[in-house]
Amino acid sequence: MPKDAGDAKLLFQSLNKAYAATPTNLKIIDLYVVFAMATALVQVAYMGVVGSFPFNSFLSSVLSCIGSAVLAVCLRIQVNKDNKEFKDLPPERAFADFVLCNLVLHLVIMNFLG
């Protein structure tokens, strides 16, 4: 119905405007999350095409993408200035945690990759 289409467009535009207001560093993190999820989707599509033969490799790669995305989301939560809970946590500390967790995740992933 044309009214609904118009409503959806208005909604979309208002969301876009609100999003533009977010600080750049948070936008970088969001872009990173989108990148990780997109990679995971490509891999799932590949598995759908050729079958899951080395299943451990598939799991390892998909969980690597999803794990990175999750860690990025955690970083975003901790770095976001509007978040009252993490007011006292310096963003550098959050970033250091992010780096460390990523390194551990990737070690485990490389071991499981086979």
Partner: protein
């Protein structure tokens, strides 16, 4: 039931079983060994392949066995030896072997060549610190001295010390000062080299050193290994794959070393006679050797043991291990040296006769009489009333001259196994058919099992076949042979085999056809009867055709098992068999390479999208510290992260988890330190910006 047996008898049985070793089956060196040696060392048609080492072994083996070689082969060996001696690049090992060949064959070599060889070997002794070099050069010089050339080793004490320095505390030797492993084979070589040094030296070698070496020999004999039958041998403690020499070579090396050392020193070596006898039994127990090297080692060790200064082993052997009661064979025993030469005057007593299951038959000690012409001890066994069967005979050897006790070793008690055979009487043989329920209505026929008989019987499935006979030994006791079979063979070649059970009185079998109908596959018709009785100690084992049996069995029901198909050709199972197709797990299907590559590209697309997005957001490096210190830490931080990721890639490609974790721990510590510096600098900068 154990308490029924008198305890003393049980104790005696245990003691007898413990004391009497298992029997050995050795025979002294004989013409069989000579012909095997001739075969093993047969010259190959292409003599260029005949190496110096094989020529050396062949020449020495034939000399020790007393076998004459072809003159042409001797000439070739001499030429090879002369060529090696005159060549200036021959190593000490080749010179040693060439001098030995020349000495044995009596080759004519220039005296000047020998002088040159002697001086070269002496130079090797002065310069080297390797055990094998010492051994070959000292051996070569000793061989030259034995051929009549005057060779003297000056400064023998220092050479002796140098060789002795390589010894280990357990009696074994190292090969040179650099190697850490020691071996028993090296110990044998070292002892032979030391003996050579003592013979070659002009002055007497320090007696205290000789005493130390004698102790080493005692320690070396502590590492000897043995089998249950009194055989002793040497083997390496650590088996190193490529260098493993085997017990024959190792034991031969030790025998060479110990006998040559015993020959040159005064006083006796403290080695028990049973170990020398055990070594002799080991080499004789090889029998006819399978390889040229084993033959050489065996013959050389035995010839050194034949007349050595420690103990000369005397071997007890039986020329024949089968004694027939029918032909009234006598028990004959030979006691000789390892090469078959006559032993000193001695007495042989038959101390014990043990039957199967170590049952003691007799314990009276009987002395065997000596036949001087044939050098054989013999005994008539008929008075012993020994029945047919397998027995272990325990002999005891005592030397008549007590002075010989320090020269010869006999091993005290020796056990040998013999088989006594005889004619077994078969009598009271009967065969017949009887009705099932009634026991008395039998039609029996007497059989004479000494020849094939042709009885003709007929039965149906309700009847039984009875066969019985008695077996008795020449001494009248009941005999239980190894094989007693009754075979029924149908005209269609289906066979059935039955074991005839034996009791104390007789052998009797009852075939109840009612129970056997299915086993016979319901086949009616003519069956051939065959009886076979056999045993190792039975001289008249037989396979007799008894006759025929017409058997009437009911019709086969629908589901009855068919008789197995008879092999047309019984040899078919020895022909090439069918090829076996193995079924392997089918490997998983893999996608096409193009598909995989396409998706690899697709996976990289989001990354490119990420980079483009970053550029669109206006990412920059403005916050990178400009001061040199913090800048260095910052770049090190990024470099550290890159190094960890590179380590992960290497981990995937070739490293294992433990190596990776090791490197990761180093990188991690570094990264934590550098990261802390960088990030704290950054947070300080932002804090300053906020407050400023």
């Amino acid at each position: 039931m154990a308490w029924r047996l008198p305890p003393l008898a049980v104790l005696l049985l245990l003691v007898a079983a413990a004391v009497a070793p298992l029997s050995s089956a050795v025979r002294p060196v004989s013409d069989a060994h000579r012909s095997v040696a001739a075969e093993l060392f047969a010259a190959s048609p292409d003599d260029a392949l005949c190496s110096l080492e094989t020529t050396y072994e062949a020449v020495r083996t034939f000399k020790m066995l007393g076998v004459q070689r072809d003159k042409g082969l001797d000439g070739k060996a001499c030429k090879l030896a002369a060529h090696t001696l005159s060549s200036s690049s021959s190593p000490a090992k080749d010179l040693f072997q060439a001098v030995q060949i020349a000495g044995v064959l009596g080759c004519s070599v220039d005296a000047g060549v020998y002088d040159d060889v002697a001086s070269r070997l002496k130079a090797v002794i002065k310069d080297t610190d390797s055990l094998l070099e010492f051994y070959y050069s000292v051996g070569g010089l000793l061989s030259l001295k034995e051929q009549g050339h005057s060779v003297v080793l000056s400064d023998a004490d220092s050479t002796f010390h140098a060789i002795k320095a390589l010894s280990q505390s357990d009696g074994r030797w190292r090969y040179d000062t650099n190697s850490a492993e020691s071996s028993t084979f090296a110990a044998g070589i070292a002892l032979e080299a030391l003996a050579g040094v003592v013979s070659l030296s002009d002055a007497e070698v320090d007696p205290s050193m000789i005493g130390v070496v004698k102790n080493d020999i005692v320690k070396l004999f502590g590492t000897i290994k043995s089998y249950d039958d009194g055989t002793f041998y040497f083997d390496e403690k650590y088996v190193d794959g490529s260098e493993y020499k085997g017990p024959i070579t190792t034991s031969a090396s030790v025998v060479r070393g110990v006998t040559s050392f015993a020959n040159v020193v005064s006083g006796k070596l403290n080695i028990p006679g049973e170990k020398i006898l055990g070594l002799a039994k080991f080499f004789l127990g090889i029998g006819l050797p399978g390889s040229a090297k084993d033959c050489f080692n065996q013959i050389e060790s035995l010839s050194l043991l034949e007349n050595n200064r420690i103990f000369v082993p005397l071997i007890l052997s039986l020329p024949s291990k089968v004694l027939s009661l029918t032909s009234k064979d006598q028990l004959k025993v030979e006691v000789t040296t390892v090469f078959g030469s006559a032993a000193p005057p001695l007495r042989v007593n038959l101390v014990q006769v043990l039957g199967s299951d170590s049952k003691i038959i007799t314990t009276d000690s009987k002395e065997l009489q000596f036949d001087l012409d044939n050098n054989v001890h013999y005994l008539d066994i008929t008075p012993l009333k020994i029945d047919v069967g397998k027995y272990s005979l325990v002999f005891e050897i005592t030397l008549q001259d007590s002075e010989h006790e320090t020269v010869y070793t006999t091993g005290g008690r020796n056990t040998e196994s013999v088989v006594v055979t005889g004619l077994i009487k078969v009598d009271k043989a009967e065969i017949g058919i009887s009705e099932n329920d009634a026991g008395s209505a039998e039609s029996v026929e007497k059989l004479d099992l000494l020849k094939d008989t042709k009885v003709s019987l007929s039965a149906n499935h309700l009847q039984k076949l009875r066969l019985s006979f008695q077996l008795s030994t020449p001494l009248g006791r009941t005999f239980k042979p190894h094989q007693v079979f009754l075979k029924l063979k149908h005209e269609s070649k289906v066979e059935h085999l039955f074991v005839v059970p034996g009791s104390a009185r007789q052998f009797k079998i009852v075939l109840d056809f009612l129970g056997l109908v299915e086993k016979f596959y319901y086949l009616s018709g003519t069956y051939d009867l065959e009886l076979s009785v056999g045993d190792a100690s039975m001289e008249n084992s037989f396979l007799r055709a008894l006759g025929q049996l017409e058997l009437d069995l009911p019709e086969a029901p629908e589901k009855a098992p068919r008789p197995p198909a008879q092999a047309v050709d019984p040899l078919a199972k020895f022909r090439p068999q069918k090829e076996i197709e193995h079924i392997f797990r089918v490997p998983e299907k893999r996608p096409l390479q193009e598909v995989s590559l396409a998706f690899t590209g697709l996976t990289l697309l989001p990354f490119i999208g990420f980079l483009i997005g970053l550029m669109r957001l206006g990412v920059n490096l403005k916050n990178f510290p400009s001061l040199p210190g913090p800048a260095a830490f910052a770049s090190l931080f990024h470099a550290g992260i890159a190094a960890v990721l590179l380590l992960y890639v290497l981990f995937w490609v070739k490293l294992d988890l433990f190596t990776t974790l090791k490197y990761l721990s180093f990188l991690g510590v570094f990264l934590v330190f550098v990261g802390h510096r960088t990030l704290s600098h950054l947070s300080n900068t932002t804090a300053k910006q906020k407050t400023a």
